[in-house]
Amino acid sequence: MLNKTAMNAVHRKLGGQMTDFGGWEMPLWYPTGGVKEHLYVVEKSGVFDIGHMAVVRLKGEGAKALLQLCLTRNIEKLAVGNCAYSVILNDEGHVIDDTIVYNMGGDEYVLISNAGMGSVVAEHLTSRNTFKDVTVRDDAGNFGKVDLQGPSSVSIMRKLLSKGKGSIDGLKYFRFLGDYAKKDSAAQLPGDIPVLLSRTGYTGEVGFEIWSPFDRVLEIWNMILETGGDDVIPCGLAARDSLRTGAILPLSHQDIGHWPFVNTPWSFALPLDKDGKLTKSFIGSKLYDNPPSQYTLPFCGFDPRKVETDSAAVLLNGENIGAVPTCVIDMAIGRADGKVYSVASPDKPKDFRARGLSCGFVRVDKNLAPGTKIALKDARRTVEVEIVSDIRPARTARIAI
């Protein structure tokens, strides 16, 4: 029996194509289709039900020390109202899950992790806790979550917030307001709905992740659609997957997982100083004394053709050098005169039309420079792609608001 979010009946009513995602029944896309949903988030905005994510709450004097032991990220200087991306490793330096850690103030931290991982993360933290006065709690069942992502999200949130409206002016990337679990939250939506409003997301576009009490999430979904009008549509997990890939964001248990967390595009999760040395030791940090020769690198294709990730090999001059954990199509991009443009690129050629490009990540045993051509081969065909340093240009996630 699959888990269902507070929004399940809405997805079915909207005609969502439902799928099993990490033990949750979630919409892949609505009748609008994955292409339009992806483009809407790049050009206007989309609203996603993300209620399948997990939340673990920590409180107490030792909470920070426990997190410093269990997270790769050095949160020593993480200020109240700030959040940061991190991974959680086992003793071998393999990924248990990734997370965003929120400093709520008053020795309280919130960890957001992936579908089905709340109890795993909570048990891991508890088993490693030797610090005084820390409670670790899987908050499953107590929250709902929708993400509003895309350039129109800022004006929609400004119109909607009943408390905290002024505070989103100047709210920077990876800052947040309020707490869904507190009645007097600094961020509230009409009807006195307390929310945790975070300027983060999983699309590469400017937007918000919005946590609320479980039983209020439908109201939020409806008010976003009503206030957003033509500037927002419901989007499913397929668009979320293609948007995050174009933004070079990893999917836990697919791009990172039970193998060493080394040489990835996500090394910002490691506590490295300017010389590349670790600034703290943590569970798994001994991996970095002698890291294996393994590289996770982004690639971009020359047309939309994908390969089957389960079976595809990466060929460099005919030699098999690795696997393809993610291969999707970013429908907002295309090539013109050899260069990749997005529908949002200010310098795109006149008459540019994005036909979509395959893109994703390869995990290989050689470091390859951007521009290196490789072939992805599955049972059906061989597709040539190139290693790149970035995929979808002109993303808005970091813009000033």
């Binding site: 194509q17 799928t19 896309w29 289709g33 994955g34 292409v35 339009k36 992806h38 059906r380 065909r381």
Partner: protein
């Protein structure tokens, strides 16, 4: 994906169990994919087409459909020689979603005789077959 009752099974064409359709006019067979396939696959964004003049074999792959989430082989309902491909699909692959039996046709094949049609299903039999299927896993 559409509910079964919403699916359109064109009465004028014959079907394969891999969800292609074929319609014979003279010695030319037009080939496409049906409403069930386009609905289950979601947005079609790229079509790999064969070359004009190439041979296709009944039951064998002649190209592929790329949707946002998956790649599917196109299997030929008949054996013959490709005499025409739908060039509009390179610019507008979404025609397969919007008009699977019309503007979203894929290739024309010249055949000798109609022996291959014996293995194909008429729309009523095909609809009965589709009813027994689990939805195509698009992920």
């Amino acid at each position: 994906m559409k509910e079964f009752a919403e699916l359109n099974f064109d009465k004028e064409v014959s079907y394969t169990k891999t969800h292609e359709w074929a319609k014979k006019t003279g010695n030319i067979v037009r080939i496409g994919v049906d409403d069930y396939a386009q609905s289950a696959l979601g947005d079609i964004v790229y079509v790999e087409l064969p070359s004009v003049g190439g041979a296709v074999n009944a039951g064998a792959a002649f190209g592929s459909l790329e949707s946002t989430k998956a790649v599917s082989d196109l299997n030929s309902p008949v054996s013959g020689v490709v005499v025409k491909v739908n060039d509009a699909l390179s610019d507008s692959p979404e025609l397969i979603n919007s008009s699977p039996y019309g503007d979203g046709w894929i290739i024309d094949v010249e055949v000798k005789g109609d022996s291959d049609f014996g293995a194909l299903l008429k729309s009523d039999a095909y609809a009965e077959y589709v009813k027994t299927l689990e939805p195509i896993e698009a992920n």
